[in-house]
Symmetry: C2
Subunit: 159 residues, 2 copies
């Protein structure tokens, strides 16, 4: 088990290497690559993206919407890493994420499953060390724990 600060450092490092954030074309493209990966490897998840239910990776590539969507999820992952040593803020961010996704009626098990998809995506971009994998596992577990707790508080389906 890593300390929260170690887990933060390891996840940050993996992001800075494999999914750096910024306004340069390659950083925007890197963000979009996540959805190209997700839509190719987990086509069942496309149903949560109204109007893009039948999108291929090529459709994602051509879409302005997925430029924006990619940058949003890229930012979210950087925020999760940055706040992991500040548990109250990290947990508040998890709750806010649930609030913002309420309208999409997502299956509650996806909040945990997402981290497997994300780590597999990172691994498709380059090598993750064992410590980085362990760090993402920890981050995903705490995030999911707070998500399920908050879903329960809201009277919504949870696991």
């Amino acid at each position: 088990m890593l300390t929260p600060n170690e887990a933060k450092m390891q996840t940050k490092k993996s992001l800075e290497t494999l999914m750096p954030i910024g306004t340069a074309q390659e950083q925007i493209q890197g963000a979009k690559e996540f959805y190209k990966y997700m839509f190719s490897h987990h086509p069942d998840l496309r149903k949560y993206f109204k109007g893009a239910e039948h999108f291929t990776a090529d459709d994602v590539q051509k879409s302005d919407r997925f430029d924006k969507q990619g940058q949003r999820i890229q930012l979210a992952m950087h925020i999760l890493a940055d706040t992991f040593d500040d548990e109250p803020t990290f947990r508040a961010y998890a709750r806010e994420t649930i609030n913002r996704h309420r309208q999409y009626k997502m299956a509650p098990e996806l909040w945990s499953a997402f981290f497997d998809v994300f780590v597999n995506f990172l691994q498709s971009r380059g090598k993750l060390t064992d410590e980085q994998k362990a760090a993402w596992k920890q981050v995903g577990e705490v995030f999911n724990e707070e998500c399920q707790k908050h879903l329960k508080t809201l009277g919504l389906p949870h696991v």
Copy 2:
């Protein structure tokens, strides 16, 4: 001029003392206090809150909407502090904040003015040290700089 890490530590400290985040009643109330303060001291800003244009501090207190709104801004301020030593993420968060507020057509000078309101709010809750004040000034300046740059990129009014 503080280093980004010093500014982060100072702003975090002021938030942990004067606006801690969490699900306890006093933390939710503390978040709501910001809007009670803003609506009392800057009633002109109420126009950005549709349906609450004539709200008093008492109306805010009774409102579930401002429970949620308070928690959102509380989280935003904690995220700004937490990410200030990770400039690309901090700046990406500023841009995302602009994207999310686009629909409200806010006057561009408010992105800077907000930090004065916020620091005055914190000071209404307890003492800020000179270093904490300097830290918030720095955070506000970088945030505003990125906001104005992004507004310009989007072809929107900026200062």
